[in-house]
Symmetry: none
Subunit: 244 residues, 2 copies
Amino acid sequence: MLANIRIVLVQTYHPGNIGASARAMKTMGLNDLVLVNPRCFPDAEAARLAAGAEDVIDAARVVDSLELAVADCVQVVGASARLRSLPLPHYDEPEQMAHDLVGHAMADPVALVFGRERFGLTNDEIRLCSHQVSIPANPDYGILNLAQAVQVLAYEVYKTWRQRPHSDYDNPRPAEERQPTREQLGHFHAHLGRVMHTSGFLTQPHARTEEQLHALFARAQPSRKELSLLRGLLSSLEKSVSGD
Amino acid sequence: MLANIRIVLVQTYHPGNIGASARAMKTMGLNDLVLVNPRCFPDAEAARLAAGAEDVIDAARVVDSLELAVADCVQVVGASARLRSLPLPHYDEPEQMAHDLVGHAMADPVALVFGRERFGLTNDEIRLCSHQVSIPANPDYGILNLAQAVQVLAYEVYKTWRQRPHSDYDNPRPAEERQPTREQLGHFHAHLGRVMHTSGFLTQPHARTEEQLHALFARAQPSRKELSLLRGLLSSLEKSVSGD
């Protein structure tokens, strides 16, 4: 189950932070590391700070977009400072995030995403997430070092995982009750967007409205079955709207 | 209250770890740092890794025994790997430790003690503690870097502190995020039902489908603002579907 929990580091500047993050992951039983456009990797400093976690570093995959890193995931949580520029569902308590993440990871891949040391994730990257999480911190100085943020969230994940009753492991949910992948959800949002335009509700591109709806459905966490119900409704609307 | 919580680092080898620990402390609202016989302090590398927490470093006190560092404390918790060579009371859950520590710190100084990078605390030093705590970790690789152990325990302390009544940490919800009344939600569901029928998606009353959608939107907990966005979309669909 922990094998389904991926750590994604976006455009990390200091290779040492990649190494220290790998070590933090391994102490908490995590080993799936994906790097999006790291400035410098592989690197001796990364290996040095990984200490006993070179296996995590060696197995890390490098990709060139966050989209590729999380396409197969059913939940994607972006770690961020406490800004709410986007209306994504936001966990103020890492514990609650860990609870949900570990639950989904029983059946499907999930990801925790960490941005650049200096300025975190861009808005476009945050849009690829289903949720955001903040680590409660000193309001006057709340910026954790990257590897330390990885440590804290990985620790919460491990704590939740280890406290789960054993019986839960044996009862994976049926596929239709599982969460859709980010890709399936992307198709749904595209469909919804088409219907909004065809019906004349949106007469021009209007990112803000679409974002609000994305956030709403992210909170609803539709199952695959519910998503196909919604797709059916959209198809039906599309047909009758297109003016037969 | 947080001012009563002291971090004690015993004979730290790498000055960078002192800096990174100071930063970790400050992110969690702690600033009382005591160093027992550090190998090398003050030091440029310590200052560099402290990032914005130089004030913690500058105010750190250096003493030459753990006894001096904790003499005025009412609780002294030694962080250790999971050995129980000594029969001290042992917290397996940092959360429980944080609860007790913060409780004592309301009235008196308390301390969290971290040993050397390589071999932790000696038995004589552990005898100066009133309790031990371990961080739950991967049984195959459970050794956190010093500053990361400080980060995790400081985080648990801050989390407990902020959940106490009267903590000055607040997180108010903007008014526009308020939940709609049951009545407003009822109007929305009725509207959605009409559109499903008008569009031909539902050709007869179909309680099960409507129930599923109710459940979906109940989970989403739309705000009043989001609900009015959805109502707008439904109106637009209704108009274009009815065949003008």
